[in-house]
């Protein structure tokens, strides 16, 4: 298919762009296969380059022959384009609609994007399971890397290499896989070096109504327990939801069959409910006419903050079991690709200082989200402005980022990255020139040949000139476990995302710059002091002890 077929009017002059808190721009609107471009053709005004993939929905309005298109983006921005001429406006609108809803992945921009920078460190090769396993091997020999899923037949959503207990053979793994939803048998998610406890993740067991059991599954998870020790199974669903799952062939671990495990149920919402919450929240944030009462009741009705609190609490509980109780943990919900990953990845941020560095956080996203089979393409196909009935869209990853932001707010000196880094990840998960978040699993990504045909987000982010924007000036590495408060009074609305386009941030940005300035000035002085010290020491050794003037 040629994009040109979809572009009936490639160029319109005299288009006026309106954006909140920014001056209007008049210029020429151009449509390309992947971008909507508006340029005033003057040197000092910036051009608007909008990826079609970033467009969530559009609305058209006409007043006489002046048409207006309201473009609502996946990054939650809303812009308005006034287009002279009804026909032009209609053409542009229908082109945008067609181009922003292309079904075929291989037509996406990442397959056409050619970087203007030299790729020094290929992001596709940065985080391979073998490397992660080497680290694990240096700490313990209880685990092995299994190739049982090398052709993705045991579990299509898992990667080809999986870390499993050493004593469990591949045949048992296959049997355990047949007992778990989508074949997602329990695998290692995190090893807590401090006390040797582990966190595993899986999908729900397929016990069904008649209480089916699987010896291999029991053996597999018991193999992770030390002698005489017991563990916790954290089921992210309420007991009622877990009970209902039995009727559809799912279920939960029966006490009788897993006597060494204590099961804890939490109440993280299923992904389809989350999408509705996002839509409600963004609608509330975008309505400027709200009274205080209406705003608070809409915020409440969106349930967003409740979800943040529940996810964080569950992650903290998992971390508490591991670090404070000295017990191993197995986490699962239904499919094991959504709430499960939220919990396992957040628990690692709490427990493992490495995850709070930029590289470590990237590795975490690779491990616990991309390779673990979170269906990014399905979940991020639409954002808060989607009109249609949601298929499998859900802001699971955004909620995770929100939780990370909450921890970052409470421990502003413990993260190497700043809020901008999280916002950038949110944007790229929904629309990007990079291939990292395309596809739903490792298997799909291999099939799409992403690593050959597209550029990795990490190749770009890790360049020093980009990284600078994402560094937290307050960062001071600390090796401690960080326990966030999950009281509602301690959790805030993530303004950087949800109010990003609805407020002027000039004053806040300047204050941040001032803070950065103070800190950098301090570092500069520190360096000068150090160099003076060195000089002084050198002089003293040459001339003998010196009398202080």
């Amino acid at each position: 298919m040629e994009f040109a077929e979809l572009i009936k009017t490639p160029r319109v002059d005299g288009v006026v762009l309106h954006r909140p808190f920014m001056p209007t721009v008049e210029g020429t609107l151009c449509l390309t296969g992947h971008h909507l471009i508006l340029s005033s053709r003057q040197d000092n005004t910036e051009e608007l380059w909008l990826l079609h993939a970033n467009i969530d929905s559009i609305e058209k309005r006409f007043v006489g022959s002046l048409g207006t298109i309201i473009v609502k983006c996946k990054d939650l921005r809303v812009i308005q384009l006034d287009i002279p001429g009804m026909e032009e406006c209609l053409n542009i609108a229908s082109s945008i609609e067609a181009l922003s809803t292309l079904d075929s992945v291989s037509l996406m921009y990442p397959f056409f994007y050619r970087p203007l920078f030299e790729v020094i460190e290929d992001g596709w090769q940065l985080f391979v399971p073998e490397e992660a396993f080497k680290d694990l091997e240096s700490m313990t020999d209880e685990w092995r890397l299994s190739e049982v899923n090398k052709d993705f037949s045991v579990c299509p959503s898992y990667p080809s290499l999986l870390t499993v207990p050493k004593d469990i053979d591949d045949e048992s793994l296959c049997k355990a896989a047949s007992f778990r939803h989508g074949g997602r048998f329990p695998v290692l998610s995190y090893y807590h070096k401090k006390n040797g406890m582990v966190m595993m993740r899986a999908a729900q067991p397929l016990t069904g109504t008649n209480g089916r059991r699987c010896k291999e599954d029991e053996k597999l998870i018991n193999a992770t327990l030390c002698a005489g020790k017991r563990g916790y199974i954290i089921d992210t669903r309420t007991i009622a939801v877990a009970q209902q799952a039995k009727a559809r062939g799912g279920g939960f671990e029966q006490e009788a069959n897993y006597p060494q495990w204590r099961r804890i149920h939490k109440a993280i919402e299923r992904s389809n409910v989350l999408q509705e919450g996002l839509i409600k929240l963004v609608e509330a944030c975008n309505d400027q006419s709200h009274s205080m009462d209406r705003w608070l009741s809409k915020l409440e009705a969106s349930n967003w903050q409740s979800n943040v609190k529940e996810i964080l609490t569950t992650a903290c509980l998992a971390a508490q079991c591991i670090d404070r109780e000295g017990a191993s943990v197995l986490v699962h919900g239904t499919e094991g690709t959504d709430s499960t990953l939220q919990v396992t990845s957040l628990a690692q941020i709490i427990l493992d200082p490495a995850c709070r560095t930029i590289r470590g956080f990237e590795a975490l996203i690779e491990r616990e989200w991309l390779q673990a089979g979170h269906p990014f393409q399905q979940r991020c196909a639409q954002s808060a402005y989607s009109n249609g009935k949601p298929r499998s869209e859900a802001p699971v990853f955004l909620l995770f980022l929100d939780c990370v932001w909450q921890i970052l707010r409470q421990f502003p000196c413990s993260f190497q990255f700043n809020e901008n880094f999280l916002i950038m990840l949110f944007e790229h998960a929904y629309a990007s020139q990079f291939g990292t978040f395309l596809g739903n699993s490792v298997a799909e990504r291999l099939k799409l040949l992403l690593s050959q045909k597209t550029v990795s987000l990490w190749s770009w982010v890790n360049r020093p000139q980009e990284l600078e924007r994402f560094l937290n000036p307050l960062y001071e590495p600390n090796n401690l476990v960080i326990w966030p408060s999950v009281a509602p009074q301690s959790l805030l609305l993530w303004e950087g995302v949800f109010l990003r386009w609805n407020r002027s941030t000039k004053c806040l940005d300047e204050a941040y710059q001032e803070m950065v300035h103070i800190i950098e000035y301090n570092k500069e002085l520190q360096n000068k002091v150090n160099s003076l010290r060195r000089q002084l020491a050198q002089l003293e050794t040459e001339d003998g002890p010196l009398q202080t003037p």
């Binding site: 608070l296 009741s297 609190k309 509980l317 508490q320 502003p412 401690l480 109010l499 000089q535 010196l546």
Partner: protein
């Protein structure tokens, strides 16, 4: 002399199941709890005046619980082993926290070891005559009147008042007779650039049809004093319904037909009773254990608290816009003109004038619009002879509005939120004379300047604790007038005020604290560089060999003149230190750094966490002992703070 001492008292944490044991002391001025535990040994000092209520709960197996609620939103829950001890403390406290005469207030016994001259100087720090001069008053349109020199026209106003030059004495006196409590229109802020005045008064006694020519004259005079505008705004800060109801009692509001050049406007701030109820509801919700997000948000909404805060802010913005955009003068009143009027005039002035956003200027503002114009601190803050119907958090709301502004304009204020919290603390502490009594006249009768000390001198002496590290004086030049957004989502719950003493709620690392630390380093570096530079000067001939010229080695000063606040430690990070010892300890830690402490033997409980963040304190779920119990529960539901197990 009173001193009760009870051992083995348990202090329960408000939100978790944690408790500590210690000794409780009751002195003439404080209730003190000293933790007996080895290392941390925290001390809690509660001033009797801070205690709002004491409650003895029914006896439990571990002892007799005593619940103490404080006006600074601290809530302590003691369990005293013996019922008799508990009763003793309870009844002593009841007696102590209801002083019957002013002489019993702490301010009259508090002695910070200053001589009379220092005390006097403290009281002279804030000079309102100088403040009016700073605004450019008296001038060709405004004059100082001596009509109230003897408090004869209005008891609750200060002696010195500023009125339009065309307002003669008979007009003033006539107008005052037509206003509640004699509070006639007077100047409170003069916006020199547009010659626009902000005036304040109480409601007119207009009833359904009464008129007063002098009062009408008075408003004309205010209008005429400003050549930039043909009209003045009259802001009635009450909801229209309340103002209408007042008409039946012979009070009411200005009829536009009788006052030719006014634009009349209601702004709808609720009265003291609604505000009191609102705060009560807010605190009830926030005090709930295991509060869910839904209950939190619904409770926040139902309390109406943020709605009221927004209403006050909206009114102040209306005032500031009228003055700056239209150059019009504004007359503000409510019923008596000492609650809502004080809020709106003070906040409006703060938006208009950057001076009020400095530490000194903020003191002046409070002294002017709140203290001198007779906000009834004694009644509103329940200092003496309590009438529960008179108590209301009007001043707290003003402080909160200022805090909301600091959130939108982080560089506009010289002070940090800790300054606001500290002022709030002392409005209730009765430790300093400033806020005692209901009016200037009463304060003079009490001879406060001779018998007590001024809070402002105290706060200025530790000014460095209250500095905002990102304050930028140049911000005032680019933003002389603040124009805050009043979108509902910009108003936040002020956790550090209402949960100041609830440690587990606060971030365990603070940006403010971190930047303070950097300040400390900056000063260390400067002095060390000076020292090193002087040493190096001893070998001028050698300097060349290092390729160092002397100029870059000149001791550097920070880019802007700043003093260096010590590193604070409190329940809220960013609060000033309490004692020398802590400062020393903090500095020691500074030297050894985090790494050194890492290897140190773990303290009790073996938790090494950031700034004391802990899993148990936050109570994600309590797992302890769950495996040891013989009857294993069939279902375990872990909720915030509590584990409920059902067999």
């Amino acid at each position: 002399h009173l001193h009760v001492r009870v051992e083995q008292v348990k202090l329960l944490d408000r939100f978790s199941n944690k408790s500590v044991t210690g000794t409780l002391h009751l002195t003439a001025t404080h209730l003190i709890f000293v933790e007996s535990n080895s290392t941390s040994a925290q001390e809690i000092w509660i001033l009797h005046h801070h205690i709002a209520s004491v409650e003895k709960l029914s006896l439990t197996t571990s002892g007799c619980p005593l619940l103490i609620q404080c006006r600074n939103f601290r809530l302590v829950h003691f369990v005293i082993p013996r019922e008799r001890d508990c009763h003793d403390i309870y009844s002593s406290l009841l007696r102590l926290l209801r002083p019957v005469s002013y002489d019993e207030l702490y301010a009259f016994s508090y002695n910070p070891k200053q001589n009379d001259q220092q005390r006097e100087e403290g009281w002279q720090l804030i000079d309102l005559a100088a403040e009016f001069e700073r605004m450019g008053v008296p001038c060709d349109q405004w004059q100082l009147t001596d009509v109230n020199r003897e408090y004869k026209v209005c008891e609750t106003y200060p002696r010195d008042l500023y009125v339009p030059i065309t307002a003669s004495k008979p007009i003033i006196v006539g107008s005052s007779k037509f206003r509640s409590k004699g509070r006639f229109p007077v100047l409170t802020y003069f916006y020199q650039e547009k010659k626009a005045a902000v005036c304040r008064c109480s409601q007119p006694l207009s009833g359904f049809s009464a008129r007063c020519l002098e009062d009408e004259h008075m408003l004309q005079a205010i209008s005429k004093a400003n050549h930039n505008s043909r009209y003045i705004y009259v802001m009635d800060t009450r909801p229209k319904l309340n103002a209408l109801a007042n008409r039946a009692a012979g009070k009411g509001y200005e009829n536009e037909d009788n006052y030719p050049n006014i634009r009349f406007q209601f702004v709808g701030i609720e009265n003291i009773h609604v505000m009191r109820g609102s705060l009560q509801k807010l605190l009830e919700v926030m005090g709930t254990r295991s509060l869910s997000m839904t209950d939190y948000l619904v409770g926040l909404e139902n309390s109406g608290w943020l709605r009221h805060i927004k209403a006050i802010m909206d009114a102040a913005i209306f005032l500031a816009k009228a003055v700056t955009d239209e150059g019009a003068s504004v007359l503000v009143h409510c019923s008596d003109g000492w609650d809502r009027t004080a809020q709106v005039c003070a906040l409006g002035s703060l938006l208009l004038d950057p001076y009020y956003r400095t530490i000194k200027g903020f003191m002046v503002l409070i002294e002017k619009d709140w203290i001198s114009f007779g906000h009834k601190f004694a009644d509103r803050c329940d200092q003496l002879d309590p009438d529960p119907k008179e108590v209301s958090p009007i001043f707290t709301q003003f402080l909160e509005c200022v805090w909301q502004l600091t959130e939108q304009f982080p560089q506009a204020f010289e002070f940090s939120e800790w300054f606001l919290i500290q002022i709030h603390e002392h409005v209730h502490s009765c430790q300093f004379g400033n806020f005692l009594g209901n009016s200037q006249r009463q304060r003079e009768d009490l001879q406060l300047k001779e018998r007590t000390y001024s809070l402002w001198a105290h706060l200025l002496s530790e000014k460095q604790n209250y500095l905002n590290p990102v304050y930028s004086p140049s911000f005032a030049e680019s933003h002389p007038v603040l124009e805050p957004s009043t979108q509902a989502y910009h108003f936040k719950f002020w956790r550090n005020m209402y949960h100041q003493y609830d440690r587990s709620m606060h971030p365990r690392q603070s940006i403010l604290k971190h930047v303070y630390k950097v300040f400390l380093h900056l000063s260390l570096h400067s002095s060390e560089m000076t020292h090193a530079f002087l040493c190096l000067c001893a070998f001028p001939q050698k300097l060349q060999t290092f390729g160092v010229s002397t100029s870059p080695l000149k001791p550097q000063t920070p880019p802007r003149e700043r003093s260096h606040p010590p590193r604070p430690q409190s329940l809220i990070l960013g609060a000033p230190l309490l004692s020398r010892k802590e400062v020393q300890q903090e500095e020691d830690e500074e030297v050894f750094g985090e790494e050194a402490r890492e290897d140190a033997p773990a303290s009790t409980g073996g938790e090494r966490t950031v700034e004391g963040s802990s899993a148990t304190e936050n109570g994600y779920g309590e797992l302890k002992g769950s495996f040891d119990s013989k009857n294993e529960p069939a279902v375990v539901t872990l909720e915030f703070g509590v584990a409920r197990m059902t067999c």
